[in-house]
């Protein structure tokens, strides 16, 4: 009985895939491929155009905005690097991204552990405030954030940037960690309690190592968001030495915008780290996006 059922099911499955193959006829296939190839070309062409143009002199670019350069000019890169002060900016970007990502992971993991496994009547209120924080658009509070940073004497300080970047990342972090830790068996905590471990030890020794998957997701989301962040750094900091990469790139669209070769080189410098990061971690990134999409 069982085996016949299995047999029919397999036969049906084979029939199903045959059906599928027959339906996607040649024409459909051609159309589908055309659409997907169009999208791919739409992604690649602007980027190729950008890279090619970054090797042209401004004059060569003005002569022909589409073709390959007659002479590949390498000077744009060192010059753009120097004018844009990219050394400092990239260091700042790395600093802001790494510290705020680490702090976000640590603080959301600890809060998530407390919300998920410790008893308190405050949990609904506090956890709820993080959930509201997820959905509140951060753009809406940039002016008060600027005023508050001024009043707290944190304007134009690295500490201020760090606090803001960590603060805005916490809601989604706490949300993801709480949900994940809630899914871990209570017995893990209980047995450690019986062995006499304190809650902080349990968190550090047992829970934190177990949250690796969600920590990776959060790290990926946070690194992409913080590295590309522009609006807040723009209002929190006015000193050149404290700014980050996107601010430096924008510099080339103002007064230097007619110096096309250097502008394009600057854009490539801004583009490259994220593209490399994406190509290395693309599976983790695309897995993390739906998780972070609650943030919208």
């Amino acid at each position: 009985m069982r085996s016949t059922l299995y047999e029919t099911r397999r036969a049906r499955r084979a029939a199903g895939s045959r059906l599928l193959r027959r339906e996607t006829g040649l024409l459909t296939k051609v159309i589908l491929y055309a659409v997907l190839v169009t999208f791919t070309v739409m992604t690649l062409c602007p980027l190729f155009w950008l890279v090619i143009s970054s090797f042209k002199t401004t004059q060569a670019f003005q002569m022909d905005r589409l073709g390959l350069p007659e002479r590949w000019n390498l000077d744009n890169y060192p010059q753009a690097w120097r004018i844009g002060k990219f050394g400092t900016l990239i260091l700042n970007s790395i600093l802001y991204t790494s510290t705020s990502t680490l702090a976000t992971i640590l603080l959301s993991a600890s809060a998530g552990f407390a919300f998920a496994k410790l008893r308190s009547r405050w949990t609904p209120l506090l956890h709820g405030s993080f959930v509201i924080g997820i959905l509140l658009t951060i753009q809406s509070i940039m002016v008060p954030l600027f005023l508050a940073a001024n009043l707290a004497n944190l304007y134009n300080t690295r500490l201020g940037v760090f606090i803001v970047y960590t603060g805005i990342s916490l809601p989604i972090g706490v949300y993801l960690f709480t949900a994940y830790i809630r899914g871990l068996p209570d017995a893990v905590v209980e047995s450690a309690r019986i062995d006499g471990a304190g809650y902080l030890t349990i968190f550090r020794r047992i829970i934190l190592p177990m949250t690796r998957p969600v920590a990776t997701t959060l790290a990926i989301l946070n690194i992409t968001a913080t590295w590309n962040e522009f609006m807040l750094i723009n209002i929190l900091v006015s000193r050149d030495a404290l700014k980050s990469l996107p601010v430096g790139i924008l510099r080339f669209s103002g007064a230097l915008s007619s110096d096309y070769g250097k502008q394009f080189a600057a854009l490539v410098i801004g583009l490259l780290p994220m593209v490399v990061f994406y190509l290395i971690f693309r599976h983790q990134i695309t897995k993390g996006v739906p998780a972070g999409a609650v943030k919208g």
Partner: protein, 302 residues
């Protein structure tokens, strides 16, 4: 006795674990929100809040009236609406179709296509903005391309107040369709494959499978995505800042840029900026409420 000790320890641990995150998050999100709502009702315009020479005056809703009378506010709101439209009727359907094609394995090279469609999303918005601004500018290759088709074509895209928003909307479509592709793909993969198989065996066509099995299963996700797109429109700032900075004549402004302009460009008008900020907070809280109601109505995901 032992029980009480445990409780005290649990409370202490709870505080130590929760407090840093709560303090930081409230300092950065909750406090500025409350601060802004308060300030929007006063004449505070920068400087020290306490101990300053001038006393804070309470003005009520005066700045809101000012805001609603400003035509640039309405232009900005209208552009936010355009962004919602391009998301809901552009990004979401396109993302869905692409996700469906990849999910049903109707084509090969799926990994490559997925990677390429999502790539624009990870690039810094500032880079994307300047890149496309150069592309569409009168001095850019778009002009050259159009002149191949129509000699003597004049590029007034960014100069004409009526058309300046079009390149921006195009770039948004280009940039964010990938996000919806990934969201839909992840949720499509949660659908039980046997359901689709069974429908196929019963003789359903691909279109019927889509209409009767997949779309109903995805309705919650689609609704959620639409709401996310709507609240996401309030987030647009960087791209427009880099592409047009709201020009020409502030015709491509959005709410966040309108607020920024009032606070940081020219003479600062913080009271008005705070009123705009409050308006945006209310709008975004309203959207949360809408999300909750719609999620309940349509079953929602998860």
């Amino acid at each position: 006795m032992v029980r009480r000790a445990t409780n005290a320890e649990e409370r202490r641990a709870y505080l130590i674990l929760v407090l840093p995150a709560v303090v930081l998050c409230w300092a950065v999100i909750a406090f500025p929100t409350a601060f802004s709502i308060t300030l929007s009702l006063t004449d505070y315009n920068g400087g020290p809040l306490f101990g300053g020479r001038e006393v804070l005056r309470f003005l009520g809703l005066q700045h809101y009236g000012e805001m609603f009378r400003d035509r640039f506010f309405w232009i900005s709101l209208k552009n936010n609406l355009f962004i919602i439209l391009i998301s809901v009727f552009g990004q979401i359907p396109l993302g869905f179709v692409l996700a469906y094609v990849l999910f049903r394995k109707l084509v090969g090279l799926r990994d490559l296509f997925q990677t390429m469609i999502y790539l624009p999303t990870v690039i810094s918005t500032i880079v994307v903005g300047i890149l496309w601004q150069s592309f569409f500018s009168p001095y850019g290759p778009f002009t050259q391309l159009m002149q191949y088709l129509e000699p003597g074509w004049e590029n007034t895209l960014f100069l004409n107040p009526r058309t300046a928003i079009l390149p921006v909307l195009f770039v948004m479509l280009w940039m964010y369709t990938g996000t919806y592709l990934i969201i839909f793909l992840a949720n499509l993969q949660k659908i039980d494959p046997q359901l689709i198989e069974a429908a196929k065996i019963d003789g359903a066509t691909e279109g019927q499978v889509l209409g009767r099995v997949i779309l109903p299963a995805m309705s919650g996700v689609i609704v959620t995505s639409a709401i996310l797109a709507i609240s996401g429109s309030l987030k647009s700032f960087d791209l427009i800042f880099a592409m047009t900075a709201g020009n020409p004549a502030r015709r491509t402004s959005v709410l966040s840029l309108y607020m920024y302009d009032n606070a940081f460009r020219g003479a600062p008008d913080y009271p008005l900026a705070n009123a705009v900020s409050t308006f945006m907070v209310v709008l975004s809280l309203g959207l949360i409420l809408m999300l909750r109601v719609l999620e309940k109505r349509f079953g929602g995901e998860e």
